[in-house]
Amino acid sequence: MLPAMKRPRWEILAESATESLIRLCGVSAILFVFGIFFFVFREGSQFLFHGFNLREFFFSQEWYPTSERHVRYGALALIAGTASVTVLAMALAVPFGIGAAIFLSEFCGPRAKETLKVVIELLAAIPSVVWGFIGLTVMNPVIINLFHTPIGLNVLNGGLILALMSVPIIVSIGEDSLKAVPDSYREAAIALGVTRWQLIYRVLLPAAKNGLLAAVLLGVGRAVGETMAVLMATGHAVKIPTSLMDSVRTLTATIAAELGEAPVHSDHYQVLFIIGILLFSITFAVNLTADLIVRGVRGK
């Protein structure tokens, strides 16, 4: 961009047009997020402020949106369903995911690493409806036979499926953050004569802990927001689970199953949007936390 350089007029125009287009793309992401939040909130707001029973919503497990006698919107069982499946998924996915990330970044040779990364990314590319189908047709009989339970569509099934779905995210972000630890740390530690285990436990994990935490939180976000797979694998029963073998229903699955039918702007429709607001708040909080933690990494 030297002033002496002569450029045709159209080129300058094209450049500024491209620039503003790219800027628009950047801004649009923010616009979309706010637009979605505004829409979800607007659809649910009328009932939220008039006639919505917050106490019933959070503390009652009676979900009877189409009852003829007495309509009740108690979401406690749904919240418990989402929480139980997510907690189980994380209990399985975090050790595996972090373990795999450590293996990939520290132990494995370059060729095996490439192969493994491709396979893990492939795992992330499987559509959630396929996962749900696996849960419904493969895992259901396996769980019935293995645990002698009457039905295999339960917390365990949903949790396993969700764990498999969140592992790729945890692995790839976890591996990135381990790789971001400067090699000088490793060299210094090895020069002090540490074993490999000590290197990982005492040096790498503390150094990469923010990135790893962010990886875990993004995995949580994935698990909370997942719909189709849990709809198919958890059995879709309104119940507070007391064991891994109980069927549950999650918040997301409830929206998916019921929104199509609920007459537009009816109370039921608005309550489903209020569930949407709740989910949005949960994932927003989780992502914000992850982002703040990563910012913490950068600030150092």
């Binding site: 793309c25 992401a29 497990q61 009676e62 979900w63 009877y64 949106p65 189409t66 009852s67 003829e68 006698r69 007495h70 069982a77 259901n140 009989p141 019935i144 002698h148 339970t149 009457p150 039905i151 295999g152 569509l153 972000i173 990135d176 953050s177 971001a180 990135g211 962010a214 993004l218 709809l231 059995g235 879709h236 029963a237 309104v238 119940k239 069927s247 229903r249 199953a257 019921e258 199509g260 039918e261 609920a262 007459p263 537009v264 992850a290 982002d291 990563v294 950068r298």
Partner: protein
């Protein structure tokens, strides 16, 4: 940095998806609006979706200039679509409720017009290894209704292998016409379902889950019967004779939980839609009802 990286990747994917969707749009439009083709949109009941599909396929041979597009989703979905005038015909395995008629009238200015197109016996399915053969309506209510006392197979006198004594209730999602009909016919008096039933999204899913679960019980249209499950004989009350769900028992009203199937249009059907419904009510259309596993209208003048 890590975060930004993950973000940009997902955004690129979204952009590609959008581009693909935009590219497909004109193609999709031109295909569905072919020269001189009339489209009839038909949506609703999941119980009827196979039947509606069979009608549409057969009608394409009879009347090549008309194309009927069928989708399922549940009676409630069809009702919602009809009252926003996005479909021409709503398939329903239950009647419109008064407030739904009012809603449709408010939105479109027209009354929904009802045509009975056949019958379905609501079959009660159990696993094929379950020794039970028949059930009464009271027992069904006690199994499914809120506050009902039957939760174990042993209470019904059925011996199950250890660990599977609990009755696994399989039900439908709350917009299903089958769900509404079952609630009205079996539970009665506006009673609600017991919480904790496995609520499936489709008629077929109910049968599939029951086929895979030895201690399950579920209800679904008779057209979805397979060799993997057993349809129970049903009696009105203990001591009464129990009948299996068949064409005969439906037509002579001995099977207690049979229901009519409807098609709804906005106002009196006209033009291509009218011709289509007339064809469905004709002998050729009714033959397909039987072939799809449902019960056709009685020959000499439909009741009502």
């Amino acid at each position: 940095m890590i975060f930004r990286c993950a973000f940009s990747r997902s955004r690129r994917a979204a952009a590609m998806l959008l581009a693909a969707a935009l590219a497909c749009l004109p193609a999709a439009c031109s295909r569905s609006r072919g020269p001189g083709k009339t489209i009839i949109q038909d949506s609703g009941s999941d119980t009827m979706v196979n039947l509606a599909q069979a009608w549409a396929e057969e009608y394409a041979k009879v009347e090549p200039a008309v194309s009927v597009e069928v989708s399922g989703g549940g009676s409630g979905t069809g009702i919602a679509a009809l009252s926003s005038a996005t479909v021409d015909i709503a398939n329903c395995s239950r009647r419109f409720q008064p407030q739904e008629i009012a809603q449709a009238k408010k939105n479109t200015g027209k009354d929904p017009h009802e045509v009975m197109v056949g019958f379905d016996a609501l079959a009660v399915y159990i696993h094929k290894q379950n020794p039970m053969e028949q059930i009464t309506l009271d027992q069904l209510a006690e199994i499914y209704a809120e506050g009902g006392k039957l939760t174990k197979w042993s209470q019904l006198g059925v011996k199950m292998p250890p660990g599977s004594d609990e009755i696994i209730r399989v039900s439908r999602q709350s917009n299903s016409g089958t769900y509404f009909y079952f609630r009205e016919a079996i539970l009665g008096n506006g009673r609600d379902f017991k919480l904790g039933s496995r609520d499936m999204q489709g008629s077929k899913d109910v049968v599939e889950l029951v086929a895979n679960t030895p201690s399950a019980i579920g209800y679904s249209g008779m057209g979805y019967n397979t060799p993997e499950v057993k349809a129970l004989r049903v009696s009105k009350k203990a001591g009464d004779p129990a009948y299996p769900p068949t064409v005969e028992t439906t037509l002579d009203h001995t099977y207690p939980i049979a229901r009519p199937l409807f098609m709804y249009t906005l106002g009196e059907p006209a033009g291509a839609t009218r011709k289509y419904i007339d064809w469905i009510l004709s002998e050729a259309g009714q033959k397909i009802v039987l072939e799809s596993g449902y019960v056709p209208l009685p020959k000499a003048g439909a009741p009502r």
